[in-house]
Subunit: 335 residues, 2 copies
C-alpha cells in the first residue's frame, strides 16, 4: 500500500519554515502475524515538537534528519492479524505525520467505543487534556475556589485547564493572542477575565480578574507573561511550568524573570512538569473528563488543517497563534 | 539606666554605608510589674535585614527611619518582675541593635540551660540553623544519600546546611568567596567539593563534586550561581530558594535565570521559603541540632565584631563576604 509521510530535513535555529520539511512517498509493507495496518484520520501537531527539532539532549530524543516527524495520531485499523484488534477499530498511535502505517498491534492503543470525536483523543481527551488536568491537580495542587491564571489560555492545553478550574469553582483569568480568542474564553468557556497579551499592562490585567492575587499560575508561554504572573502571586501560590512557547524559536537565551526572589518571601512553589510525570493520574483523568464532556461542563474547539501536505503549515501556525483550541491535521480517507 | 541603640537614618538604593546608620543614646525606663530589664551580650546582623531597609511591601514590614534596627539578640536578665524569669537567665529577643532594653516578660524567650555558647542561639541553634534545617528537610525534601549543592556555603545558613546534608549521608558541593572559606568547608566541615565562585566555570565546578548532577540545590545567592545550579539539576531535583544575597543591593533588577524552562522537562520543584513557614519543625530542629552539636557532627564558627558601634560595619560585611560562619556583634558587659 502507498502512503505519504512528512520528514524533517533541516534544523532551523530560529522560526522554522515549510522548507524544513518534506513530504515523501512510501510503500507500506503488508502486515504480518501480530501486526496491524492503520490509516490515520487525524494527526497532532504540538508545540513540544519544536524542541525535538533541535539536535540536543532534552527530555525526548531529537527527531532524526530525513526521518518522519513522530507524534500522536488517531486512525482506523484497515487490516488486523491479532484477535484483540478488529478492522474498523479506532486506535491512538505515536508514529506521527504519516497517512498510514504497519506496526505491531501492541504499538497502538485501541480507543474502544468513542466518547467524543476521534480528533478529541489528540486534544481534550488526549495528551493536551491530561496535561491540563495533571498540571492543575497534580503539579499545582489546585484547590476548589482558588484564583487561577492561565497563559496560552486559548490553546489546546490552556483552554482545557481553564474549564477544569471553572468546574472546580475557581476564579479564572487567561491570556490569549487575539480578540476572537478572548471572546471565546469569556463567552463560551466561562473565564472570569481574559485579555489579549498584546494589549496594555499584563499585571494590571491579571489584577482585574484576580484582585486578591493568584493562587495557581499555569504557564504555557514563559517570557514576559511568566514575569507578570510571578508578580501577581499570593503567599503559598503554586506555579505549574508547562511550556514556554514564546521562547521555543529564540536563537539566543531570552531573559529570565527578574522577580524570582519574590518566591522566597511568599513561599511560592514553582514546579516544572511533563504529562508523563503524572501517568498514575490517567484513570482519574479519563473518568473525570468523559463525565465533564458528557455534562457539557467542558467543551472544545479545534483548528483543522486538511491533508498531509498541510502538516508543516499547521505546525508553524502554533507559533503565530493560528490555532483556536487544538490544532490538528485531518487526512483524506482512503489516501 | 543608660543604653545605646542603632537607628536607620537613610534608605540607600544600592550598597549601604555606615552613614545610613546612627548610634543613639537612650534612657531605659525601669521595669514595672510583668516586665524584665535585659542586657544584650550578642546581637545578630543578617542579610534579610537589607530588604527591610527598603520602603516597600515585603514579607516583613520595613524598618522605620529614625528607629532602631530590630532583629535577634541574646542577653541576660538584669532585673525581673515575673516569677518565671530569674535574674541572670539568658533570653532570646527580637528588639535588635540595642545594648539593653526593658520589655514585657512574654516578649523574650528564656533559653533555659544553654546547650552551646550564647551566640550560637543566633546561629546554629537559632534562626539561621533552623533555616538550613527546614530548607533541606522541609522545602527541598532532601533524602539520605542525595547530591546537594549549596551556595553561600560558608555563611551562617550554608555552613549548617552543608553539615546537615553530610549527617544525612549526602554528597555535598558548596560555593564560597575566598580560599580560606573553601578550605574551611573542605577540611573542617567535610564538604565533598567546594570552590571559590570568583574562579572559573561554575557548572564545571559543580560537576566535579556532583558528576551525576544535583538532586537538591540550596540557594542563598541568586544570580549567576542560581543559573549554574539550575543547569546541573537532575530529573525531579528540588531547589530551595532561601536567599539571593548577590542581588540585595542591586539598584536595577538583575537578569533572571535564562534556563528556567529546564524545569519543565526535568520536573524540577523550585520552592521559595522562609523559616517561619516551617515553624512546626522547631522541636525536631532543636532536638536534632543539640544532638549533632553534642556528637561533634555539626560544628560552627563565628565572625565577631565588638561593640554596638561596630554593628553597621558588621552588617555591611555580610555583602562583601567579611564573615566566615555567622556574623555577630558582641557587646561589652555592663555598657
Amino acid at each position: 500500500m502507498k502512503s505519504r509521510e512528512v520528514h524533517l530535513v533541516d534544523r532551523p535555529p530560529g522560526m522554522p519554515s515549510t522548507d524544513d520539511f518534506e513530504v515523501v512517498d512510501t510503500d507500506l509493507r503488508d502486515p504480518g502475524p501480530g501486526e496491524v495496518l492503520v490509516q490515520n484520520e487525524y494527526m497532532s501537531v504540538d508545540p513540544y515538537m519544536r524542541g525535538r527539532m533541535r539536535d540536543r539532549k532534552s527530555y525526548t530524543a531529537p527527531f532524526a534528519l530525513g526521518q518522519v516527524m513522530t507524534g500522536g495520531a488517531v486512525g482506523r485499523v484497515l487490516e488486523s492479524h491479532v484477535p484483540a484488534v478488529m478492522e474498523g477499530d479506532y486506535v491512538l498511535s505515536n508514529f506521527g505525520w504519516r497517512e498510514a502505517f504497519t506496526c505491531a498491534a501492541d504499538e497502538v492503543t485501541p480507543l474502544g467505543k468513542l466518547e467524543a470525536s476521534p480528533s478529541a483523543y489528540l486534544g481534550v481527551l488526549g495528551m493536551p487534556g491530561m496535561t491540563a488536568y495533571t498540571g492543575l491537580l497534580g503539579a499545582a495542587s489546585m484547590k476548589d475556589g482558588e484564583s487561577v491564571f492561565i497563559t496560552g489560555a486559548a490553546g489546546a492545553v490552556g483552554s482545557v485547564a481553564g474549564q477544569i478550574a471553572k468546574v472546580k469553582g475557581c476564579r479564572v483569568v487567561g491570556t490569549a493572542g487575539s480578540a476572537e480568542k478572548v471572546d471565546w474564553l469569556m463567552d463560551e468557556l466561562g473565564f472570569d477575565h481574559a485579555f489579549d497579551y498584546h494589549d496594555g499592562d499584563h499585571r494590571k490585567q491579571i489584577r482585574v480578574g484576580a484582585p486578591e492575587g493568584v493562587d495557581v499560575f499555569f504557564d504555557n508561554v514563559g517570557g514576559e507573561l511568566l514575569q507578570a504572573g510571578i508578580s501577581c502571586m499570593r503567599e503559598f501560590g503554586r506555579i505549574a511550568l508547562c511550556g514556554a512557547i514564546s521562547m521555543y524559536n529564540d536563537t539566543e537565551p531570552a531573559p529570565g524573570p527578574t522577580n524570582l526572589p519574590r518566591a522566597i518571601g511568599l513561599g511560592l512553589n514553582i514546579r516544572g512538569f511533563l504529562v508523563r510525570h503524572y501517568a498514575h493520574m490517567r484513570a482519574d483523568f479519563m473518568r473525570d473528563m468523559v463525565q465533564w464532556l458528557d455534562e457539557g461542563r467542558v467543551t472544545y474547539r479545534e483548528t483543522v488543517y486538511e491533508g498531509i501536505e498541510s502538516a508543516p503549515e499547521a505546525f508553524l501556525g502554533l507559533f503565530t497563534g493560528a490555532n483556536l483550541g487544538k490544532m490538528v491535521v485531518k487526512l483524506e480517507a482512503g489516501a
